[in-house]
Amino acid sequence: MNLLLDLALVAWLIVLAIHVARTGDDRNAIIAFIAFGLLLGLAWTRLGAIDVALTEAAIGGGITGLLLLRAEAHLRRGRQAGSAPRKASGATSIVAALASAAIALGLGLAVLAFPSPAPTLAPPALAAIDATGLGNPVTAVLLAYRALDTLLEKVVVLLALLGVWALTPDHLWGGAPALKEANPPQPLLYLARTLPPFGVLIAVYMVWVGADAPGGTFQAGSILAAMWLLVMLAGLRPAPETRSRLLRLLLVGGPALFFAIGFLGFAVAGGFLAYPEPLAKALIVGIEAALTVAIALALGLLVAGPSSKAPAP
């Protein structure tokens, strides 16, 4: 029965991906992609990676869908009648099909040729986990063993946000992105009032439980971002001006705290990002809290896009 379920999941994922490739309408492709994200989350639980499933459900099923659907609506609104994108020519399609089939075949062969006693870092990850005071090995990898990766990833998210902001036209620089709908429907307002309390509760729970069970900062940050976006879409709160000092401080605050604790490691524990053992858990939870806020803000602003209103004088 388990094998059957796995086979079915794989088949549906591939069918949805092919649908994305074949359908003529962009919105149809995006809706199929949202369904793909849902099933992908399920597939990750089948692979025993519940942390990844949570991330995929929050990002793939939630905010990526909003990002793509907003972009599609923008394109559709501005498109002149009869200027639908042309289809690819036959020759291009054939070359592309051959190239991608070769890549897929190569990857497939690599999958089949995995070494048989699979190499694993699970035992060493568990062996050192007592020193961190954590119970969830994935969180331990993210925030203790490979904390440098996580730190750099935060910087990458901020760089992407800088890139998005850099696309602001000069006269709008420092203003607020326009997210609010012109005429938000009544159920959206209701949703934006009722859902965020649940969302914040679940996000706090995710950070808290992330120390010992699946969950953690990324998941919590994306939930918070989704809730924030919902509130801004309904117009209950205005989108913040990008020149706001407080906003910029909060964005930089998470990574900055991470850096500070990292350098402190030289002084107390003899290495960058080395935590003194008795304080490890407290430091990690502190970093997680600051990072969650920074991630939520950064992801929300990434979806909101560059500012499109001139700053208020």
Partner: protein
């Protein structure tokens, strides 16, 4: 018991996914979104069942998240729709 729960999860997923595949060819984007909603609920039900079958309570959290964001993606979808309606009502020719 675990076999039965896994089987029920497979059944629910199969039914909702087949519904989705039929509707993906439909004319109306709204109906596609409805099918995605049904798949979302089906996926949450399957996660609960699988979590009970394999005794991993953390799977409930994934279902919780799916349900939290189900309405979110639906709202995102209707935003594009309302733009369309607003465009139809507004006079044309207001170039940005």
């Amino acid at each position: 018991m675990a076999e039965f729960l896994t089987g029920a999860a497979l059944f629910i997923l199969a039914v909702t996914a087949l519904g989705l595949f039929r509707v993906l060819r439909s004319e109306l984007a709204v109906e596609r979104m409805m099918a995605v909603q049904l798949l979302g609920t089906g996926a949450a039900a399957a996660l609960l069942l699988l979590g009970a079958a394999s005794n991993t309570p953390a799977m409930t959290d994934v279902a919780l998240l799916l349900m939290l964001l189900a309405a979110f993606s639906c709202a995102a979808f209707t935003l594009g729709q309302s733009d369309e309606a607003a465009d139809a009502a507004a006079p044309k020719g207001d170039e940005p």
